[in-house]
Amino acid sequence: MEILTSFLKIFIISLNAMVPITLAAVGEIIGERAGVIDIGLEGILLISAFVGTIGAQSTGSPYVGLLFGIMVGLVIGIIHGLISVYLKGDQVISGVGINLFGGGLMAFGLIAVWRTPGHHVVPSAVRMPKIATPFGGISYITILTLLIVAGVYYLLTRTKLGLKINVTGEHPRAADVAGVNVEKIRFFATVTGAALAGFGGAFMAVDWFGVLTKELAAGRGFIALATVVFSKLNPLLALLGGFIFGFFDSLGVWVSSAPSIKQVIPWQFILMIPYVVTLLVVAGAIGRARFPDKLGEPYRRE
């Protein structure tokens, strides 16, 4: 019975942990299908968590906080989109810059806004309400995430716009000849993807954790990238991947509250779990992921 209770508790935490990874991964899938890679997910998660908290606290509403997170994701997406699509820049380097900027902004902001170098607790009044269960609260955003995944899957596989996005990444020249505005599709795919990551970041701040730290993202942006590889660019598999990584993430959180296990295994090895699992899952995924042919390459009209 006790084991069952523990299992259900971990399951509920996993449903929360799944959200930021899945949202960032599904957003990345939209962008990558169109041919734009964004490795700045880690930075977007941090920036949107920070800005989302400011939004929530200054208005007293967690919904405004989430909206702020989405908006700032959008803004970063616009910058990354301009560099990658219109200025024909290096997408990977731009992503690295976003990550550096995000890490800096969070560390700077904690001191500049809340005068704390360590962590800032988001007041419970501006945190999202949860669906109460005996084993912990389930977030409404978990359910919304399922809907978003289904929606993106439908968009990419069943609609004309989805077809345009896929062709743009796979064969931009053909898309161009067929009258698709390659740059526009790529730009909006990038912006949409970044906005979803922004939603995930704000979720971490005003819903799941309720605490801001310098290492809030803790590699989740990169785990989301690994999820994209695992999913072979399929949003439904990204949801599964997000849940698997979320589960092992939660396992660490849960174990660290169980002193009996901590005595046997050093805490450092418990904290390692999500990263080791990510490596193993990505390495063991059956078959190689096939990415769009022109992923990461700017399109130039001749």
Partner: protein, 359 residues
């Protein structure tokens, strides 16, 4: 003639411009939160160039950045996006500390410590290399995961196996026989800088003047052509990772044997954290060239040293520096930045037009 000069100068001008964009971006963020940008930058400048101590500290800080910058730069030359310097450097530091458990004569002990650091760094780069060549896993994902694993593994080793019995917050110190002497009295600068610069020059020779380096660069620039030419691509990928891992491992080792006053690793890794990530920006500003990397490392180190003064005199949190670095890297992502700017500012356009026209 002038056109040649322009082509040669263009990367440098672009880097300088990106640096200025970064400083401007930082100024905007500071102003947004009511900090004085000009006073802050004055503090940075005066702390670096205002005293021998400041300048010595800057060079001391630049020492590991040269090496972690090389890790990334060599990676790019070999067609990799190796962002694993952070973890490889942690393990290099652990390797150098571990060597202090044995006793060896002066000189030899130092060499063994540096070699142990390089070996540990190279070994830690291998999983990413093997995953890349056998499973096609992109190194961005594998190296980041390995960085986190290295951090926790390192913390475990420092606390449980290499801890200082007298002081719980740090590891044992490097044995006196394995330390590098100071270079400028009154500052933290040691001969580690010389080791680091020599290593950069060796890498320059290796990557630009040898067959191994040539093959590595062909694989980096044009894998298809490399295949035609009969170059073993997997071997080249492994070499690129190993050379980068050695550089990062050496950076970690030097942070132990060349880092007074404690010559040790702290349990929270405070003296080594982020040096690997800073190396990415250093390499990009230095245009992934060993000589450029040396100068870029000094620039980044100056910002880091100046940031502390900035925090004290202008009250700006020193984390500001990472925001500036981020903006610089974002600006560098668009190689047409210079052309883009020249379109905006007629003066620059005319000047470049003159340079181009008078060839």
């Amino acid at each position: 003639m002038m056109k040649q000069i322009y082509t040669r100068l263009k990367p440098i001008i672009t880097s300088v411009l990106a640096g200025l964009v970064g400083l401007a971006g930082g100024a905007i963020i500071m102003a947004l939160w009511g900090y004085p940008p000009i006073a802050a930058y004055q503090a940075v400048f005066s702390s670096v160039f205002g005293s021998l101590y400041g300048f010595g500290s800057t060079l001391a800080q630049a020492t590991p950045l040269i090496l972690t910058g090389l890790t990334f730069a060599i990676g790019v030359r070999g067609g990799l996006f190796n962002i694993g310097a952070e973890g490889q450097m942690f393990l290099g530091a652990i390797g150098a500390v571990a060597v202090s458990l044995i006793s060896l004569p002066v000189g030899l002990h130092l060499i063994v410590a540096l070699l142990a650091g390089m070996l540990a760094g190279a070994l830690w780069s291998m999983p990413a290399s093997i995953l890349k060549t056998t499973r096609g896993i992109h190194e961005v994902i594998s190296t980041i995961m390995l960085n986190w694993i290295a951090l926790y593994l390192g913390m475990y080793l420092v606390i449980d196996w290499l801890g200082d019995p007298g002081r719980a917050e740090k590891s044992i110190s490097a044995a006196p026989t394995a330390r590098l002497p100071g270079m400028l009295s009154g500052t933290s600068l040691t001969y580690a800088l010389v080791v680091s610069v020599i290593f950069a020059l060796i890498m320059f020779f290796l990557v630009w003047k040898t067959t191994l380096g040539f093959e590595l660069r062909v694989v980096g620039q044009n894998p298809g052509a490399a295949n035609y030419a009969g170059i073993n691509e997997n071997f080249s990928v492994h070499s690129t990772f190993i050379l980068g891992g050695m550089a990062a491992g050496l950076a970690g080792a030097l942070q132990i044997v060349g880092h007074p006053p404690t010559f040790a690793l702290y349990a929270d890794f405070s003296t080594v954290r982020n040096l690997g990530f800073d190396g990415i920006g250093v390499a990009l500003i230095g245009r992934n060239h060993p000589i450029g990397v040396i100068f870029a490392a000094i620039f980044f180190a100056g910002l880091n040293v100046g940031a502390r003064t900035m925090q004290i005199t202008a009250g700006v949190p020193l984390e500001m520096v990472r925001i500036i670095q981020g903006v610089i890297v974002i600006a560098l992502a668009a190689p047409e930045l210079l052309d883009f700017w020249s379109k905006l500012i007629p003066g620059i356009r005319n000047w470049i037009g003159e340079l181009k026209g008078s060839s």
